[in-house]
């Protein structure tokens, strides 16, 4: 997986450009004349500080409004600078403090740095000196924030990588299992088929208990079908990792999917309507996989809806995203099942009727395509499956599918219809 570390650069650049106006500064000194003089001169350089005349007031200001830098006189009546510094570092660890000490008390400054001050200046102070110290302190804060953001970003990427790796190892396992099972399955299939042919021979016309053999062979054949469905779906789940992207017209795609399931819907007297949006952006995605998801959602809806029911496919543009909803008027999903329906092998259908992989595979596909799939349901009223897709999903395997985009797609889907 390619991690775009260069995303972090703008953060570092921002701290270099730190504008004087952006520095939130608090000036604390009990000598009002001195304090105001400094404040005026700082204001001329574009930095307007807040002011406080005691340690207590300083803490009150900080409690209301967070500050980047506090310039703090050490020698004050009541709570002195060192004590104030202790409170500041305790309650506002991100705020940097510059101490102002008298010439005779530089020892206080050293103590202050040990207690967490950024630096100290000795009175009388030079304005340029003070300014450059303030800037340095501010840069330190910006740098710390950038580092924190970087750490958060890395943590997020790491989590994504773990998820991706899990999915990949599951995929590898699935391919292995599916392949290993398909081969013996094929042997069983041919053996049963051969036996069936043998039983049709004239010489076996009068064979005792022939019907029992035929019944057993039939059971073998339906079980092969059942096992085949599972392995093919597992392979389908893995296949999505090799998505082929192309421009997709969702309305066309939805129409095709509806056509593919229409026979089953007609048999059950269910109507399927398509409500396309007025204007829907084309999206770049994997049309084959999306079709698979849609057919899956439609098939589920058909199975959940009784005769006379209605299924509606709604398409909507949401800014740059597109929304595809499949709603039915079926039996609905009980609350306790809502969380489980996307889990693998969860099915409420009778054994052999559903593999319990359809929604699991669909969710995997949609997430791989950069989208989300959610469900809302009311018992007795029906369910809505809501799929949201980005207009464009960047991918390292981004390739155009024009060459074989529509290659036998319908035939393949028919073979792989998820139930």
């Amino acid at each position: 997986m390619d991690v775009e570390i260069h995303n972090l650069k703008p953060l570092a650049v921002a701290s270099e450009k730190n504008n004087m106006k952006d520095i939130r500064l608090l000036l604390v000194d009990d000598e009002a004349d001195f304090r105001q003089a400094i404040a005026r001169r700082l204001a001329k350089r574009g930095l307007v500080p807040e002011q406080a005349q005691s340690g207590q007031e300083c803490l009150t200001v900080l409690a209301k409004k967070s500050m980047d830098v506090v310039v703090l006189d050490v020698k004050m009546p009541g709570m002195d600078g060192i004590e104030t510094l202790g409170h500041i570092k305790n309650k506002h660890p991100k705020t940097e403090v510059i101490l102002l000490t008298g010439q005779a008390t530089t020892q206080d400054g050293v103590e202050g740095i040990k207690a967490g001050a950024f630096d100290y200046l000795t009175k009388p102070i030079e304005l340029d000196h003070l300014l450059s110290k303030i800037k340095q302190a501010h840069e330190k804060i910006m740098h710390g924030e950038a580092q924190q953001r970087e750490a958060e970003f890395r943590a997020k990427i790491e989590q994504q990588m773990i998820a991706t790796e899990r999915l990949a190892s599951l995929g590898t396992l699935a391919v292995g299992v599916a392949h290993e099972i398909n081969n013996p399955l094929a042997i069983i299939n041919e053996s049963a088929g051969w036996m069936k042919l043998l039983l049709k021979r004239e010489e076996l016309a009068g064979m005792p208990r022939k019907a029992d053999f035929e019944k057993a062979i039939h059971k073998i054949e339906t079980s092969i079908e059942r096992a085949k469905k599972i392995t093919h779906q597992l392979l389908g789940f893995v296949q999505k990792q090799n998505s082929v992207y192309s421009q997709v017209n969702l309305a066309e795609l939805a129409d095709e999917a509806i056509q593919l399931v229409s026979r089953e819907a007609i048999n059950r007297e269910i109507k399927i309507a398509l409500q396309p949006a007025q204007t829907l952006p084309y999206i770049r995605s994997d049309p084959y996989r999306l079709r698979q998801v849609l057919i899956n959602l439609l098939t589920n809806a058909i199975h959940a809806t009784g005769s006379g029911g209605q299924i509606t496919v709604t398409l909507e543009g949401l800014g740059k995203d597109v929304m595809m909803k499949v709603s039915d008027t079926g039996q609905g999903i009980p609350k306790e099942n809502l969380e489980k329906i996307f889990e693998p092998f969860f099915s409420t259908k009778d054994p052999g009727q559903g593999t319990g992989l359809g929604l699991f595979v669909s969710k995997g596909i949609i997430e791989k395509l950069g989208g989300t799939i959610t469900v809302e349901s009311k018992l007795g009223q029906g369910s809505v499956f809501c799929t949201r897709l980005p207009q464009y999903q960047a991918t390292d395997r981004d390739q155009t599918a024009e060459a074989h985009g529509r290659f036998d797609v319908l035939e393949k889907i028919k073979g792989e219809i998820v139930s």
Partner: protein, 146 residues
């Protein structure tokens, strides 16, 4: 009407599969020959007349795609139906671009296999018929020249 058997070469490293499919196809009147590797497949093709090859994609040593390339290079008229237990239709698409007639996912539906075998055989027969006619024309023109 007597069925003319299709001469089928079944290539798969799964011996049991080759055996059972051969028996089944023989039961419906086809003539089958087994091969258990890509190399063996090419050897058989060099020795006897084959209409259709049923070729497993995933085999140790020379795999299905490599074998397919060799078949198309050396025996262009022989039709190939690919069998894939791997489910990756991507490989099947690649195979068809290389000249395979069609593909089937393992385990295959016998009716699908039969239909594809017949279509492949038909395509080969028609192709050979066109070659024969072209040869006759060529022969007539030559004799006309004399």
């Amino acid at each position: 009407m007597i069925k003319i058997p299709t001469r089928i070469l079944i290539v798969d490293d799964e011996k049991d599969f080759v055996e059972m499919l051969s028996l089944r196809l023989a039961e419906v009147g086809e003539k089958t020959t087994p091969a258990y590797s890509g190399k063996e497949c090419l050897k058989v093709l060099a020795q006897q007349e084959i209409d259709v090859v049923i070729l497993d994609i995933k085999m140790p040593g020379m795999d299905g795609i490599e074998t397919l390339k060799e078949i198309k290079k050396n025996f262009p008229l022989v039709e190939v139906i690919m069998l894939t237990g791997h489910g990756t239709t991507q490989t099947a698409v690649e195979g068809m671009k290389l000249g395979a007639f069609d593909y089937l996912l393992k385990p295959a539906e016998f009716s699908d296999l039969s239909a594809k075998l017949e279509a492949a055989r038909k395509r080969k027969d028609e192709h050979q018929e066109r070659i024969r006619k072209a040869e006759v024309k060529l022969l007539l023109r030559r004799s006309g020249d004399i």
